[in-house]
């Protein structure tokens, strides 16, 4: 065992060093995307002169606040292909990182409460299957046998008519993803710098050449912005304006209960989704608040509306105590698809516009952005998500598949 590993027995990664004057790659944001980029830069391309600059602590943003759903049954071919590639990477990530990410692919059900919803879902299942993604429509009887703990489907205020069943969907422990990626990037030689806020981006001749931070100025060959909810603010440091608004998304958990629910249940009509965690808590979430904000504080109306709707599906939750609730920021685009790759400033790559669905994309974002840094070319998988699409009028609308269903 090398000496430095002896000294590291109680740490997942080295404490931060003094910032160097220059790095080949600077990654702004120590969430799942920034850390995945550092991991794949090292693993796939041997690029390790890399610094991840994080304003607070690693995983302090949406990375540590999400409801950990991973799935690939998006509506557009561009989206479905992209998220499917991410899911495949997640399937191998525990082994790749030598770290148990507790991935349970226990299935994902999107409930239909109307004929119209059934029709839209039938189409989505078809489109998914054409791309080789497991996705099928099931009827109410099948829903009832799969989720016997749900309220009688016909007696609900909004009766369940069927569901879109996505077998490979599941949950993966978000903190573990952060820690596993950070450890891997650190071991490969990338530097992790928590407590380091980027306050400026130096652009010379239309090219990003470095950043300013609360710990001094650093130059860089390439700057990657992976700041999710704060993307508008960091991009503006380089003079880039984004089609993004930042909103609050909240979730809460009940006290732990015995194992009762082994699929993810989503209802767009009821604006609610429910899963049961490994600890037994019922994890319940909803949609974003419609107003924009950077303040991560929850609202009472969320708890009220959300518990009401959760009780429609699972009336026996009436006795469960609420354990804790929290909120995070979501960077929403007009078409519910992300903004990835190059922008009008050379040497500046973006991972933004993640709305309520970016956790599942972390591996493929890191993978493709690392490839773009190494080759200088935009990987085909992310080309549809270029910022320029808004000028070319080529939006990739995922509204139907991404509004409630994160």
């Amino acid at each position: 065992m090398p000496m430095r590993d002896l000294l590291r027995t109680r740490r997942m990664w080295r404490p931060r060093q003094k910032l160097k004057d220059h790095y080949d790659v600077i990654i702004v944001g120590g969430g799942t995307h920034g850390l995945a980029a550092a991991h794949y830069l090292a693993r796939n391309h041997g690029i390790t002169d890399v610094a991840v600059l994080e304003r607070r602590y690693l995983g302090s943003g949406a990375a540590g606040r999400n409801t950990t759903i991973v799935r690939a049954n998006y509506k557009t071919p561009e989206g479905a292909r992209f998220y499917d590639a991410s899911l495949k990477l997640y399937e191998g990530l525990s082994a790749e990182l030598d770290y148990n990410l507790m991935f349970s692919q226990h299935g994902h059900l999107t409930l239909a409460h109307s004929d119209r919803a059934l029709m839209v879902m039938r189409e989505r299942a078809e489109a998914n299957r054409l791309l080789g993604i497991e996705s099928e429509l099931i009827d109410a009887a099948e829903v009832a046998s799969m989720v016997p703990v749900m309220a009688p489907l016909h007696a609900m205020e909004h009766p369940v008519r069927g569901a879109l069943y996505h077998r490979p969907g599941g949950v993966i422990r978000h903190d573990a993803v952060v820690w596993g990626l950070a450890r891997s990037a650190d071991r490969a030689g990338a530097e992790l710098h928590p407590g380091t806020e980027v306050t400026g981006i130096d652009v010379r001749g239309g090219r990003a050449v470095g950043v300013r931070t609360n710990r001094g100025k650093v130059s860089a060959g390439t700057v990657i912005l992976a700041t999710a909810g704060w993307s508008s603010l960091t991009a503006q440091l380089a003079g880039v304006e984004l089609p993004i608004t930042t909103h609050l998304l909240q979730a809460f958990v009940t006290e732990p209960l015995k194992p009762l629910l082994d699929t993810i249940i989503v209802s767009g009509d009821l604006h609610v989704y429910v899963s049961q965690t490994d600890r037994g808590e019922f994890l319940i979430g909803s949609e974003i608040e419609p107003w924009t904000t950077y303040r991560m504080q929850g609202t009472l109306n969320f708890l009220q509306d959300c518990s009401r709707h959760a009780l429609e599906l699972f009336p026996w939750l009436e006795r469960a105590r609420m354990l804790r609730a929290w909120a995070g920021l979501c960077d929403l685009t007009p078409d519910y698809s992300p903004i990835l790759g190059a922008c009008e400033v050379d040497g500046l790559l973006l991972s933004a516009g993640w709305g309520t669905y970016g956790f599942k994309a972390a591996p493929i974002v890191g993978h493709t952005l690392a490839e773009q840094v190494a080759t200088g070319r935009t990987p085909e998988l992310i080309a549809p998500f270029a910022l320029e699409r808004f000028h070319r009028d080529e939006l990739v609308s995922e509204l139907a598949a991404a509004a409630v269903s994160h």
Partner: protein, 83 residues
């Protein structure tokens, strides 16, 4: 817990009474010069962390649209004005 807006016509109400209409964009009203300018006006947003001038409608009340000045970092509403 939440925050409260003063409808210029009705008075203070919880935010859930209102429809959010987004930030007030400078220069809206004048005709965009070219296609890029049109896209900018349509999609790009300042999305500031701090004082933001924004549109609200008192949906559950008088129905009127008005403007508010809110600090998006704290959700404190500094003032509202009838439009």
């Amino acid at each position: 817990m939440s925050f409260v807006l003063h409808c210029p016509h009705c008075g203070p109400r919880e935010v859930t009474d209102f429809r959010f209409g987004g930030e007030v964009r400078a220069g809206t009203g004048s005709r965009p010069a070219d296609e890029r300018a049109l896209t900018r006006a349509l999609y790009l947003r300042a999305n500031v962390d701090g004082l933001q001038r924004e549109w609200w409608q008192h949906r559950a009340g008088c129905g009127a649209w008005f403007q508010a000045e809110r600090d998006t970092g704290t959700n404190r509403v500094l003032r509202t004005v009838a439009s």
